[in-house]
Amino acid sequence: MKETSDMATPPATATTGATPVTNAHLGSLADVSSGAERHLPVVPESPVMEARDLNVFYGGFHAVHDVNLPYGRNEITAMIGPSGCGKSTVLRCLNRMNDLVTSARVEGQVLYHDQDIYAKGVDPIAVRTHIGMVFQKPNPFPKSIYDNIAYGPRVTGMKVDTMDDLVEEALRGAALWDEVKDKLKQSAYGLSGGQQQRLCIARTIATKPDVILMDEPCSALDPIATARVEDLMMTLRDDYTIIVVTHNMQQAARVSDRTAFFTARPDETTGNRTGLLVEFDLTTKIFSNPSDKRTEDYISGRFG
């Protein structure tokens, strides 16, 4: 991770705006991509999750239009795109967090192991125990570090041999154990922002999910903390499927295997900006040779 120091600074092209795409620049982004070293099929085989004709409405507002997107097993899928294009909305549909927004309505299917999680009779609570979520702002509970981790297993009535072991395992899994092992009974609020975010990741993996959703998990962190979370994501990929929303294109390029680019298009009649999926491909492909002009413009900083 020698790139950490300039992580917070956007690519030079993003600040100057009108600079044309240089292949050297795109090449440098692609070079650091971890996807480059992995040999992945062009389309995910037997995806863990898949959005099919997903449409989301907030009241009468059509927020997301016809998204079809598979998420490969043990892969990191990044969702990028300009603000308001519906990335968070799509992400929140994947574990039915949008159920909590009374005005939200979802059409289409979200398959999880071939089961539509929006089908009748599916319990959203059960869905969320399989598909965990990490939020933009670290949100530990005002409890001890230990209780933060134990909370999920306790409320879901998970069978655990010893909670102590589970807590240790989760904290080790989130690369936080060595930093907190002597203060498990202290408040989680005493941790730094980056540690808090890793605690939130530990808290999520304690419930042994299959998929971890992350909505801009590093946007409240400094570059060093970001680097640690990114390292962690790449380690977690071996055991989990990760879907991450990010505004940091270098981050997407660095950690993700596949990238989905969204944008928002104004409706002809109402003028509302409806989000749609533009392009989905291997991250190396998206950042070196995107097939859509809009993707190219966005990643080179000419748009959004």
Partner: protein
């Protein structure tokens, strides 16, 4: 000289005129008036307290707290029955109002769909209920007690019911504020781990809101402890010579005793009443201090 430097100097000059619109004659007069009002209020309050303290001073003794009120020996009259009665009332008022108030607030804030006309109606009227004169709650309590078939008046339960109804809107409103202040992210964090809405409310939202709820409850109780009007309506005696022994026991309360003694002609009894006022004030201030303590001690920044 560059353009930037010129503008900077102009701005500095404009800022440094030494004249401030806050110091105009109108503002000064207004400020003076504000100060005077504040001064006036504080002075009147202080004068009242000081004169009450002076009047009651000869009676600041142990007997004031341990004796019952007696017309036969007014010089050693005490407020044991009133103090105990008020404490019992507070206890049962809290027992009735707090669970009900918290439940109502949680329902309205966490579960009710605020777009439904019925829920909006309830919300609007909560504010109105908080402004209803206390005597009306006394009448309501009398009616409820009669409906429930209690034929004895002036008992702990009746008084507590009146006071509980009186502070219920306050508790609901402050609890809602406290619950609303718990950040959305905390609930999301819990729900995303597979907790139900109920578990989230019970294990995250409510515990985080407890300092706020406690503060609101105590401030409500400190209002209730000074009330006499609803207790008069419920039929509390102004003097009893035994300790409260249960929910159905007849009692008196400190404000009731003060009210009845201040109108007595005997100087000793009026003296005792002044001393009792100070006792009541100390109780109210104690409750408020407790509320402030809780608020500061458990104040959280998210």
């Amino acid at each position: 000289m560059s353009i930037a430097a010129t503008t900077a100097r102009e701005v500095t000059e404009r800022l440094a005129t030494g004249r401030s619109k806050d110091r105009g004659v109108g503002s000064m007069v207004f400020l003076g008036l504000l100060w005077f009002s504040l001064f006036f209020g504080v002075v009147v309050l202080l004068a009242l307290i000081v004169s009450t303290v002076i009047k009651g001073a000869p009676r600041f003794d142990g007997e004031l707290l341990t004796n019952y009120t007696s017309v036969v020996r007014p010089e050693t009259a005490g407020f044991r029955a009133g103090i105990l009665g008020s404490l019992w009332l507070m206890l049962f008022t809290a027992l009735l109002a707090v669970p009900l108030g918290i439940a109502a607030a949680l329902y309205l804030q966490e579960f009710a769909d605020s777009d439904r006309p019925w829920n909006r109606f309830v919300e609007v009227n909560l504010q109105n209920l908080a402004a209803v004169p206390s005597i009306v709650y006394g009448l309501l309590a009398v009616a409820v007690m009669a409906l429930l078939g209690f034929d004895r008046t002036g008992i702990v339960l009746g008084g507590a019911l009146a006071l509980a109804l009186l502070i219920l809107p306050v508790i609901i409103i402050t609890t809602r504020e406290a619950v609303r202040a718990v950040p959305r992210e905390m609930r999301d964090g819990s729900l995303a781990l597979g907790a139900t809405v109920w578990q989230t409310t019970w294990k995250q939202t409510l515990p985080s809101a407890i300092p706020g709820i406690a503060t609101g409850t105590i401030l409500g109780l400190s209002r209730a402890i000074g009330e006499a009007a609803p207790l008069v309506v419920v039929g509390l005696a102004s003097s009893v010579t035994f300790d409260p022994a249960g929910m159905l026991s007849q009692i008196t309360a400190l404000p009731m005793q003060i009210y009845s003694l201040t109108s007595q002609s005997r100087e000793e009894l009026r003296q005792a009443a002044s001393a009792a006022i100070i006792v009541l004030l100390v109780m109210v201030l104690g409750l408020n201090a407790l509320a402030i303590f809780i608020r500061n001690k458990f104040q959280r920044s998210w």
